[in-house]
Amino acid sequence: MKDLDTHLIAAHADQDGALLTALYTKAANQSDDADTQCFFLTQAYVFALEAGLPEASPLKAQLISAGRDLPTET
């Protein structure tokens, strides 16, 4: 996890949305706790959303199915 933290800090410094999405998704996948997992999924989703990445949709779907978000109104 420490290595992941280091990568995350660097990705934040570089404002690299794609890498942030990937690293936060990895952090979520490494977590057993639902709250922690959803925290990281949320982080991943927000950076994917900002960058317009296709990962945004499945991440959002995961959060909705976990009861942590609502569908986006169109």
Binding site: D35, F39, T42, E50, G52, L63, R68, E73
Partner: protein, 385 residues
């Protein structure tokens, strides 16, 4: 201070009217009053559509203190939003950039679509909980400012109370209907900005009239004499001047810019220069138009943003550069009078000055419009008290 601004003297017939008094050029309180009454309640120029050419492009613009952003949404529509997050009022966009997906607030990462909808509220209900009772995203979109595109200019009505743009500017749209067709911004070489130490109204006043041309622009006098000009007057809306002797710029081998399609004979050698109240100075010619958007930056400082448009894309670069340089020279020649009048507004006992009943009709019409708007809003304010 307001009692010192004798607006009724301004509204008298021109032959015995006074101009606006000094305070209208120097006083912070009146500057704000005029911001609200003249600029925010009408259709004002904010920028040009070409500043956000691609979908997702956004540019922050501070307009008379108001933090705004120009944005071209994913469907290509240019919109204007207040540049703040609905959460804690944080500035969202601090530099021009392209929004690839969503606008993310840099503070707590609330996210907005390019259409202004609030689409994500991360952790708003606690870590990993992205909804919360009472936070209804559908009611918390970006605050959109009413906007309209005409002649390449993005016009905004901040108060939201003005008539529709087409109604508010019906006379001008009719007058220049022949120019209501695609125009192409000349690009980086066709825009420049001049910062002038004057109140924004002085730039309007100087632009309206041709009286100063032989004195301030002697270079024009060789072919465009004072008697070749006429006044343009539309009370309550716009004023300016026209010329009968516009000469096209010519390049090597007598090349010229292409004409706008379908223009009448009037425009063969005619050109018109109109101040569209409050803050947009426009010029139309057979082969190019321009817009000067005045951005007031306080009672005594104004930035003039100049943009030149052509009838076709990909016009001759050298000719475009010469045209921009020519206009820049003319507009720079006006700076000393605008700044001189501004410094003069610190004189004691100045009564606002007088107008030539023949040569200053367009300038007086602008003063009359200013006074009329202020009297209307002051009367409205008194009635509400």
């Amino acid at each position: 201070m307001i009692d010192q601004t004798n607006l009724h003297a301004v509204r008298r017939p021109i032959d015995h009217a006074n101009g606006l008094s000094n305070a209208h050029y120097t006083d912070d309180g009146i500057y704000l009053e005029e911001r609200d009454s003249l600029v925010f309640e009408n259709w004002a120029g904010l920028g040009v559509e070409a500043e956000v050419p691609d979908t997702g492009d956004t540019k922050p613009v501070t307009f008379m203190g108001l933090p705004l952003m120009l944005l071209r949404d994913k469907s290509g529509v240019v919109r204007v939003f207040q540049n703040i997050c609905r959460h804690r009022g944080m500035i969202l966009v601090d530099a021009p950039r392209n929004i690839e997906g969503a606008i993310r607030c840099p503070y707590h990462s609330w996210c907005y679509s390019t259409e202004g909808k609030l689409v994500s509220t991360p952790h708003v209900g606690g870590p990993g909980h992205n909804t919360s009772e009472g936070i209804d995203r559908s009611t918390l979109g970006l605050i959109e400012v009413r906007s309209h595109i005409w002649l390449g200019v993005v016009w905004i009505n901040v108060s939201g109370t003005a008539p529709a743009f087409e109604d508010a500017n019906a006379e001008l749209l009719a007058r220049w209907a022949e120019f209501d067709k695609p125009a192409y911004h000349g690009g980086a070489d066709s825009s420049f900005a001049l910062t002038v130490n004057c109140n924004w109204k002085l730039a309007v006043e100087n632009y309206c009239e041709s009286y100063h041309l032989p004195w301030v622009h002697p270079g024009l006098n060789s072919y465009s004499k004072l008697e070749d000009h006429y006044n343009i007057l539309e009370p309550g809306h716009f004023s300016g001047q026209g010329t009968y002797v516009y000469r096209q710029l010519k390049g090597d081998n007598d090349t010229v810019f292409p004409d706008f399609d379908g223009l009448g004979d009037k425009w063969n050698e005619g050109a018109e220069y109109i101040a569209a109240y409050p803050n947009v100075l426009l010029g139309v010619h057979r082969d190019h138009t321009y817009a000067i958007i005045l951005t007031p930056e306080g009672p005594g400082k104004t930035t003039e943003h100049v943009h030149i448009f052509y009838a076709a894309p990909n016009t001759d670069e050298d000719l475009r550069k010469r045209n921009a340089a020519q206009w820049k020279e003319v507009f720079e020649e006006d700076i000393f009078v605008a700044e001189g009048m501004q410094r003069g507004r610190n004189a004691l006992g100045f009564d606002g000055g007088r107008f030539s009943p023949v040569m200053d009709t367009a300038t007086h019409m602008f003063h009359d419009w200013v006074a009329g708007c202020l009297l209307t809003t002051r009367t409205r304010g008194e009635a509400a008290e």
